[in-house]
């Protein structure tokens, strides 16, 4: 194993942050200028959004189921089992829906982007694209960024709905609770700030997934082994950053809405 001096490591880290920031700035800037690759945006929306639908639906549904089961056990001790709906709904909308959807989409798409762009990089297709007069960031990164941010927003709403449906299913079928009570307490517990919080988080997660996936893909070196490394790094980095940013956004939202 090769050891790197702290100075060299720090320099590499700062250079990586700089490269990532420049990539993000360029990808955002390209959204507002021509040419725009609309066909690529729609293709990515289909691949990222529609393609991720099954895992998001299943994850959301079973998370809601588990949440209802676990909540009922704890709430039973306080004689508050009727509040299961409130707990499931609040947890799904504010936290679990956005974070789990982000992590699921990250696992599926950040890895996909890193491996696809990484393979293109090591086989000189990115250089060929530049040589043919196309800006790879505009053609490859911006459509993925737009598609991920846009689709993750709706995937999170679907995940929230499936989670609440899963919670309701367990509450009614297994805990023998009243469905009306479940939905009523859940609905009444939500305030405007909770919904805003739950819908702001996927915007950040989508941005992180696309930019981290593309960043690691575009900096791939070292053949097929390098592609594998980039893919792993992209998933690890995007997952950690999603949770970190989730913490920061939650803190911010508590500061704004007071809950």
């Amino acid at each position: 194993m090769r050891f790197v001096s702290p100075e060299a490591y720090a320099k590499t880290l700062v250079a990586s942050v700089q490269e990532y920031s420049l990539l993000c700035a360029q990808a955002i800037g390209d959204v507002f200028s021509r040419p725009r690759y609309m066909a690529d945006i729609y293709t990515q929306m289909d691949s990222i959004g529609v393609g991720s639908l099954p895992i998001v639906v299943l994850t959301g549904f079973f998370t809601g189921c588990v949440l209802a089961l676990q909540a009922a056990v704890s709430l039973k001790e306080f004689g508050a089992v009727n509040m299961t709906g409130e707990l499931v709904t609040l947890s799904m909308v504010k936290e679990l829906g956005p974070v789990l959807t982000g992590l699921m989409v990250s696992g599926r798409n950040a890895s996909g982007m890193a491996s696809e762009l990484g393979s293109m990089k090591v086989s000189e297709q990115i250089d060929a694209m530049r040589a043919l007069g196309t800006d790879p960031v505009r053609k490859l990164v911006t459509p993925r960024l737009v598609a991920t941010v846009f689709m993750l927003f709706f995937l999170t709403i679907i995940s929230d709905a499936c989670g609440i449906a899963g919670g309701a299913f367990v509450s009614v079928a297994m805990l023998k609770l009243n469905a009306g009570t479940f939905f009523h307490t859940g609905y009444m517990s939500l305030v405007h700030g909770d919904v805003v919080e739950g819908l702001v988080k996927p915007l950040f997660s989508g941005f992180i997934i696309a930019t981290i996936g593309c960043y690691y893909g575009l900096r791939t070196t070292g053949g097929t082994r390098g592609v594998g490394q980039s893919t792993t790094q992209a998933v690890v980095a995007s997952s950690v950053i999603i949770i970190l940013v989730d913490f920061l956004v939650t803190q911010l939202m508590i500061g704004i809405f007071g809950r």
Binding site: S123, D127, A131, T134
Partner: protein
């Protein structure tokens, strides 16, 4: 291929008599290793410049520098009279519209079929689809690969991929073509087919080109042969003639060790160069 249609700016540039490509004291290194140092040379209009040298000598890096895909650490590169260092990335993309490049491993887009690969540049320029299709057919018939139009790169042999790559490079009717080891890794017969295509492009369109090769026989074939347009094949230039527009540049360990014409190279007294050629 049809004759190159020149833009007014390009005609004006050519009238000025400046070289198509100029390197002036260009140096570049990676992770403390100097790859090119103080490289200077120029390529005139209509010239075929063959780049020779041992593997790892910086030839492919030089090719990428010429197309602005890499930035030098020092020195200046001028393409069509304009300094690449003074250009913004956006201007660089416009400049590349006049340059065709054939990559070492073809670098075809593996998710696109042959037609879309070849048409890529024209589609980016929003050319009329009917014209695109006609020009793709023209380019593919030039490389004698019109039957492979619907195939994907994974279905093609190495030589076929190289030919598609040439078709993709010439479809935009470039003023300068960069060939990065077009015969690398190919068997001698397929290599000769590729060299014939390079020669055909040179003699039909008179396009300036810079070509890297590891095979000396390919280099000397280019210098001693011409394309017979009536009989559609390559033939030796009569009376042991040598193509005057073909010149050589030899790199060794990142430095230029030879820059001159064919006969100067074959009659060199430099011991390293003599050994390399022999």
């Amino acid at each position: 291929m049809a004759e190159t249609v020149m833009s007014p700016q390009m005609s004006e540039f050519l009238a000025s008599g400046q070289p198509m490509l100029e390197f002036e004291n260009v140096s570049i290194g990676f992770e403390g290793h100097q790859v090119l140092s103080e490289v200077s040379f120029s390529v005139a209009h209509g010239e075929t410049r063959i780049l020779l040298g041992p593997a790892g000598g910086g030839k492919s890096v030089l090719m990428k520098l010429a197309n602005g895909l890499l930035e030098p650490d020092s020195g200046e590169i001028r393409v069509f009279g304009r300094s690449l260092q003074a250009m913004k990335e956006r201007d660089m993309y416009e400049m590349r519209a006049h340059i065709g490049m054939v990559f070492q491993e073809s670098a075809l887009f593996d998710s696109l079929n042959v037609e879309d690969n070849v048409a890529y540049r024209l589609e980016e320029e929003h050319v009329d689809p009917q014209e695109i299709h006609a020009r793709v057919l023209e380019a593919l018939s030039f490389v004698e690969l019109d039957k492979a139009i619907d195939k994907y790169p994974s279905e093609l042999s190495g030589g076929m991929r190289r030919r598609v790559s040439i078709a993709r490079a010439i479809i935009g009717r470039p003023d300068l073509i960069l060939y990065d080891s077009p015969t690398g890794g190919l068997d001698p017969i397929t290599s000769m087919t590729i060299i014939e295509l390079v020669l055909k492009q040179r003699d039909v369109s008179r396009t300036t080109c810079l070509l890297i090769t590891h095979r000396l026989q390919d280099a000397f074939t280019l210098a001693t042969h011409r394309y017979n347009m009536q009989e559609h094949h390559m033939e030796p230039i009569p009376n042991h003639g040598i193509d005057p527009s073909t010149r050589f540049l030899v790199l060794n360990e990142g430095k230029v060790v030879f820059d001159g014409a064919t006969l100067e190279l074959t009659h060199t007294q430099d011991p390293w160069l003599k050994e390399y050629i022999e």
